[in-house]
Amino acid sequence: METSLVLILILSPFIGFLYNLFAGKKTREASGVIATLAVTVSFVISVYLFQQVYVSKTPIVVHLFDWISLERFTIGLDFLLDQLSLLWLLFVTGIGALIHLYSIGYMHDDEDKDRFFAYLNLFVGFMMMLVMGGNLLVTFIGWEGVGLCSYLLIGFWYKNQDYNDAAKKAFIMNRIGDLGFLIGMFTLAYIFGTLDYAHLKADFSLAPLTSPTVFAGLTLAGVCLFIGATGKSAQLPLYTWLPDAMAGPTPVSALIHAATMVTGGIFLVTRMGFLYNVIPDVQLLIAIVGAATALFAATIGLMQTDIKKVLAYSTVSQLGLMFLALGVGAYSAAVFHVVTHAFFKACLFLGAGSVIHGLGGNQDIRKMGGVKSVMFVTFVTFFIATLAISGIFPFAGFFSKDEILLSTFEHNKLLWAIGSLASIMTAFYMFRALFLTFFGKFRGTEQEKHHMHESPKTMTIPLIVLAILSTLGGLLGIPGYSWISEYLAPVLPGAPAEAHHLGALEYTLMGVALLGAIVGIAIAYFLYISKKNIPSADEEKEGFGKIIYNKFYVDELYNALIVKPVYALSSLFANVFEKVIAYIVDGVGSLTGYISTQARLIQDGSVGTYLVAFVVGLCAILTYLFIL
């Protein structure tokens, strides 16, 4: 029963993918509906299984078959549906279904929408595989699969070369991380002889981890898996692909590059939490990388003028906060923020998509303004999501961000300060985007103004649902009684995190966070509503602002440090080594040709000659054998 349910759960999106791939062209209008249905089926089953596991508190384990079977080393195609993966499944399929629905409206005029929905379904399937994997290898299949879908969807409008470049960049950056994932996986397989989560976890509680070689191996595995996570979750130094990934259609940015795929790294680190708990040095590294990314990306976000780029940098920054939480061992806080972030960031992206759709493709907030009067639903939902991401009470982001900052404060004051600063910046740049987009006067062309319209129902319904979730999502983890940490306690490492005792310190910290957010908003209000500032054109920027606007020139730096030398190396190989090798190979060929041309003359075609040669040869052989 459970096995077949799980099979339907995982296969449903894949069937949708196959349908849209092969039959989508014929039933064009239906492709979106079918894709949405496929994901909805998965969502319904996820809800059922979630309820089951929630009641029974025992994970569902499905072993399909032995995949790789060696002596004393077996990898099965296993699915593990415990509290952690079911939580992920719920929001992957739930938000996935909403975004599919939204895409029906958003992609209505696209001629390749069947292909779009096919990829989107494929993505959901692989994402489910990632979170349902019962061992690291199955997770890795999903991991690679979502990377592939990300590539396909970023480059969906493949006629634009920039988009193709962005897709390739995302794929290659992810490959770097994936190499880390692989090495980490190999190391664990070498040490423990298994990749199964359950076995690994059991081995951890049994094995004496004091031996320095084992400890070194674990540290290596931890660091390598974390490198994999930084690739997928766009952390320093591999984050540059995510802002470029905004080249894809906006629903893709919402689903893959904000709500689900980029949380894969957090999922992995949480899953392997029992590993990270024994290597505190690596935990510190994770916390530092997370905090640095949060601050760095928030800084870049301050100056961006493309609405999707603003959201992209805010995603990177929020992911950084989640890693900060993981680094200080607050796994449930990180997961909590993943969930609320999925709600409000998906809502923000879909809202931005709605605006872009209404304005006929314009993404530059300098050319927007005053949109609120026309697109009321979009405005309200976007506003709610912005409040949520800024951490305003009582919206979802307040609770989850607060949980992270609280846990960080207990561990490391400096990291807390960095995280708080990043949060204040977040509030500022999110409201900057909001004010510039929806308030003031419209700054685009007359034609765009005329074209401006509210989006169709298929697009506004997901927005409303997500806005409600962004408002209420905080109830999952109210300070003092955190449902989510209680729910996740069986699968998280170490002692179950105690609910924070609500003392004066905690209330002060909450107050500080809230005050910071309000200050950020106030500055944005002052600059963009009272003073009616508009970000200057690209060429007018100067000083530090220019550096930030150009993203600290990180892309240029990578270009100079890595891309250029690789090109130089490849041109060296192409122009020098390849030529030398080609000459040698060609030389062997022409020498053989020359020799055989000469040797050919012996074959004069006369049978007599052959006979003479034959007899002489035979005589020679006989002489040699019998006489000499």
Binding site: R600, L601, Q603, D604, G605, S606, V607, G608, L611, V612, V615
Partner: protein, 107 residues
């Protein structure tokens, strides 16, 4: 009777004879250009070998060698039939049975 023949003449003389016959065959193959003569020379070589088989059969008092000869004569007859028919078709196509003129194999 058989022993007498060998005693009268001696086995080495037979061996020389077969070597001679065989060499005649080879020379015929090598230096004559007509294909009929070529076939005849091959027959001579074959019969030289047959003779040798018979001689050793008698010498060793073993009749197996003579049985072989019967087989090889039958095969030789078949071979000649095939060879001659090939010859006829070559003559029809090329208008000559001088194999020095058949140089289609030239590389």
């Amino acid at each position: 009777m058989a022993e007498n023949v060998l005693k009268l003449i001696g086995i080495d003389s037979y061996i020389y004879l077969t070597i001679l016959l065989f060499s005649v065959g080879i020379l015929g193959v090598l230096f004559r250009r007509s294909m009929i003569v070529l076939l005849m020379s091959i027959e001579i070589m074959l019969n030289a070998v047959n003779l040798l088989l018979v001689v050793f059969s008698v010498y060793h008092q073993d009749s197996a060698g003579q049985v072989f000869v019967f087989f090889s004569m039958a095969v030789a007859a078949a071979e000649v039939a095939v060879g001659l028919s090939i010859l006829v078709s070559i003559f029809r196509n090329a208008g000559s049975i001088d194999f020095a003129t058949l140089r289609n194999l030239k590389g």
